[in-house]
Symmetry: C2
Subunit: 100 residues, 2 copies
Amino acid sequence: MESENSCPAEYLLKMLSGKWKPQIFRLALDGPIRFNTLLRQIEGSNKQSIAVALKELEEQSLLEKTIIQQKPLHIEYMLTEKGRTLIPVFQQLEHVVRVQ
Amino acid sequence: MESENSCPAEYLLKMLSGKWKPQIFRLALDGPIRFNTLLRQIEGSNKQSIAVALKELEEQSLLEKTIIQQKPLHIEYMLTEKGRTLIPVFQQLEHVVRVQ
DNA sequence: TTAGATGGTCAGGTTTTTCTGACTAATTGT
DNA sequence: ACAATTAGTCAGAAAAACCTGACCATCTAA
């Protein structure tokens, strides 16, 4: 993933390319989310693909994984600061899609 | 290409998915553009892929093909009204990419 | 203690996307 | 007449993305 890129759409497209990333990212917009919740909410998806997508989103610093040391430890994925910079783009897109 | 879609990013991603579409679209933002110009300006691309991408962008009504009946007839691709609705998204993205 | 949930990994196969090279046809310049 | 440019198409191969099913470890509830 070369971050050097003169085309901003290509940048977003690369960041969120793949069959499940946009949906994962969108669900993460609503707050921290867990692996199996994603798996259940994204219909048609599968463990492997979600796992790979999450790993890549982490590597791109759009999501971060947190292990919560509690009775039954559980793992959460949430937007990073960088991830949150994409929120206005999503809002803009929502607007555009409504208008079209 | 099912246009039904609850996730706007997924919508954009679908519209502009593929290795060359974002770059084609971006070049088209600067005005009508020709096949061989795209081919030359997008390095690493090839005839076949550009041709397929252009056809799909046309089918999605983001670009339109115009045959200009002049001495040597030539063909131009330009943004449609629908395509132009994506301009603010690109601007937003440019801003975000600068900030990141 | 056994079943079910969470959060994965791994190998292998299938599907989708992309690329290469050859070919076409119209037009223009030399 | 011949080469070059434009604007493609097509078949087949290669590469990338995705899916399935099996497996694993930890924990909890029955």
